[in-house]
C-alpha cells in the first residue's frame, strides 16, 4: 500500500516538474503567453507567502509564523540580506513560542 503511494506520487510529481522544460522547452513563446509567464513568478511567490504564513488544513491559522513573517517583512523593508530576513523571522517565531 505505502509503495503504491510512493510510486504514484513520485511519477506524477516528476511529470509536473518536467512539464515546462520538456513541453515548452526553449521554444519562442507567443507574446501573449510570454506576458502571462512573466508575471507568474510574483503570483506564485505571493501565494507561497500567504499559504506558508497562515495556511492550515482548510483553515486560516494565525500563530507565531505570522509574527515571524511580519518581523521578516520589516527586515526586507530595511533592505536586509536574505539570510538576515530569514533569521529575524525564525528567531521572532521561536522566541514567541518560548514565552
Amino acid at each position: 500500500m505505502s509503495w503504491l503511494v510512493i510510486a504514484v506520487v513520485g511519477v506524477v510529481t516528476i511529470a509536473f516538474k518536467a512539464s515546462g522544460p520538456v513541453l515548452l522547452g526553449k521554444r519562442e513563446l507567443p507574446a501573449r503567453v510570454a506576458s502571462v509567464v512573466e508575471v507568474l513568478a510574483p503570483a506564485m511567490l505571493a501565494a507561497l507567502v500567504v499559504t506558508q504564513t497562515v495556511g492550515g488544513d482548510r483553515e486560516l491559522v494565525i500563530d507565531e509564523r505570522l509574527a515571524g513573517v511580519v518581523a521578516g517583512g520589516i527586515a526586507v523593508w530595511l533592505r536586509a540580506p536574505l539570510l538576515v530576513v530569514m533569521a529575524v523571522a525564525a528567531v521572532t517565531a521561536a522566541l514567541i513560542r518560548l514565552l
Binding site: S2, T13, V36, P42, A46
Partner: protein, 216 residues
C-alpha cells in the same frame, strides 16, 4: 557589473538555508516510520518526489489511517503548483529533452525562488541550489528515520523563515505596477480559498492571477 552566474553561486545561495531542509527532512523521516512508509520508503520518496509539503501531508494522512487514495490525492494537489512553477522557468533549461527532464527535477520552491532573485531566472543558480537542497533533503530524511525525535524545526522557528524568504524574493518585483497587481490578486485568491479548499488548491488557483499579464 554584469556577470554570468555559475552553479557555484546557486550552491553558495542555498548552503546557509540547508539547515531547514535537513530538519524538515528529518521530521518527514520520523513521521514516515510512524506512518508505515518505512525507512527505505521514506528515502525513496524523498529522492523521487523531492517536495516537502506533499510528502509530509501523505505521511500524516497514512499515519492517521486515511488510506492510500487520500494520501495520493492530497500530495498531488499540493504538488500541482509545480506545473506553473515549471512553466515559468521552461526556457532556461539547455540541452536535450532528456537532460531537461532530468534537471527539471531540481525545481523545488526554494531553488526556484532563489534562481529568480535577480529578476530573471538563472539556470545555474537553480541547478546549484537544487543540488544542495536535494542532497540535504534526502540525507535529512535518512537521518530522521534514525534520530528524528531529536530534531524539531519548529522549535527554532524555521516554519516562519521560509515564508519570510519568499517575501524577500517577492519584494523586488513589487516596484513594477503590473507585478504588484498580480501579487496582490494572487495573495487575495490564496487567502480567500485557504479556509475552504483542500491544501494545494489555493496556490494553483492563484496562478490564474498571472492572466493580468494579458492586460495592456
Amino acid at each position: 557589473m554584469v556577470r554570468t552566474s555559475r552553479t557555484r553561486d546557486g550552491v553558495r545561495a542555498a548552503l546557509p538555508l540547508a539547515i531547514a531542509p535537513l530538519l524538515f527532512g528529518a521530521s518527514f523521516g520520523l513521521l514516515a516510520i510512524d506512518s508505515g512508509l518505512g525507512a527505505p520508503g521514506a528515502v525513496v520518496m524523498s529522492a523521487t518526489t523531492f517536495a516537502g509539503s506533499a510528502q509530509l501531508a501523505a505521511a500524516s494522512i497514512l499515519e492517521d489511517g486515511g488510506g492510500a487514495a487520500s494520501a495520493i490525492v492530497a500530495a498531488l494537489l499540493l504538488n500541482a503548483r509545480y506545473v506553473p512553477l515549471s512553466l515559468a522557468v521552461a526556457s532556461i533549461f539547455p540541452g536535450s529533452r532528456r537532460r531537461r527532464a532530468l534537471e527539471s527535477q531540481l525545481i523545488v520552491d526554494e531553488s526556484w525562488a532563489l534562481a529568480g532573485r535577480s529578476g530573471r531566472f538563472e539556470y545555474r543558480v537553480l541547478v546549484g541550489a537544487g543540488l544542495v537542497l536535494y542532497v540535504v533533503w534526502v540525507g535529512g530524511t535518512a537521518l530522521g528515520t534514525v534520530i528524528g525525535d531529536l530534531l524539531d524545526p519548529e522549535a527554532i522557528g524555521l516554519d516562519a523563515a521560509f515564508p519570510a524568504l519568499f517575501l524577500a524574493l517577492l519584494a523586488p518585483y513589487l516596484r513594477n505596477r503590473r507585478a504588484l497587481a498580480t501579487a496582490l490578486v494572487a495573495g487575495g485568491i490564496t487567502l480567500v480559498l485557504l479556509p475552504f479548499a483542500p491544501p494545494g488548491v489555493p496556490i494553483v488557483a492563484a496562478s490564474l492571477a498571472a492572466l493580468i499579464g494579458l492586460l495592456r
